[in-house]
């Protein structure tokens, strides 16, 4: 599939979405490098980086139009928004089970050995 002629308005929207995506990717990676421990880094990457890649997918939808490839881009957005929180949750749980300490004096609200969330009184 060869891309058609890209009109001016469409090019402006694609450029804006690429700029937004690059910004969020930049923010996420700076957070990955600068934050103090694994939970904070996860917080930075799982939201900001996902938004960046989703913005790129949206740029793909605008670029290719509502056809086959554009619909693939929309599917990519749905997939990213389903999988990124799941992956972040799994990594955080693995880190907690490994015994990685929280930063500062933050602590888990209940004991890990109980496994399940305690019943509300």
């Amino acid at each position: 599939m060869t891309a058609a002629e890209v009109g001016l308005l469409r090019a402006v929207v694609v450029t804006a979405l690429i700029a937004v995506g690059s910004f969020f990717l930049l923010v996420g990676t700076v957070g990955l490098l600068r934050l103090p421990e694994v939970y904070n880094r996860l917080h930075a990457t799982s939201k900001a980086t996902t938004l960046g890649a989703a913005s790129m997918f949206l740029a793909g939808f605008v670029y290719y139009g509502p056809g086959g490839t554009g619909l693939t881009s929309l599917l990519g957005i749905v997939f990213l928004f389903l999988t990124a929180p799941t992956g972040g949750h799994v990594i955080a749980r693995a880190a907690h089970r490994m015994g990685v300490e929280f930063y500062g004096d933050a602590e888990w609200p209940w004991a890990l050995e109980d496994e399940a969330e305690p019943e509300a009184d």
Partner: protein
Amino acid sequence: MAAEAAAATGPAFLELAVQAGLLIASALTLLAGYRVVRGPTTPDRVVGLDTIGTNVVAIALLFSFATGFGPFVLVGLVLAIIGFISTITVANYVTEGDIVR
């Protein structure tokens, strides 16, 4: 580049934005490699690899814009799926010590 012969005919600023985005995403992928190499704990490395995966998805999409070759969007989608599966697998391996139970 030979690939640019097939590039879509768009305004010059779109070309510039795609090239700049490719540059930024590639640099960020390299920087995330620092966390993979130096990360003090294993989950740090997993988070770094996850970020690299997301950045490579963005690179695939931007490359598809640069060349006007639509199926590269599918490459990005498949890379996202592989990244998700590998993250789940590594996290499972770290906690359970076994992949298949």
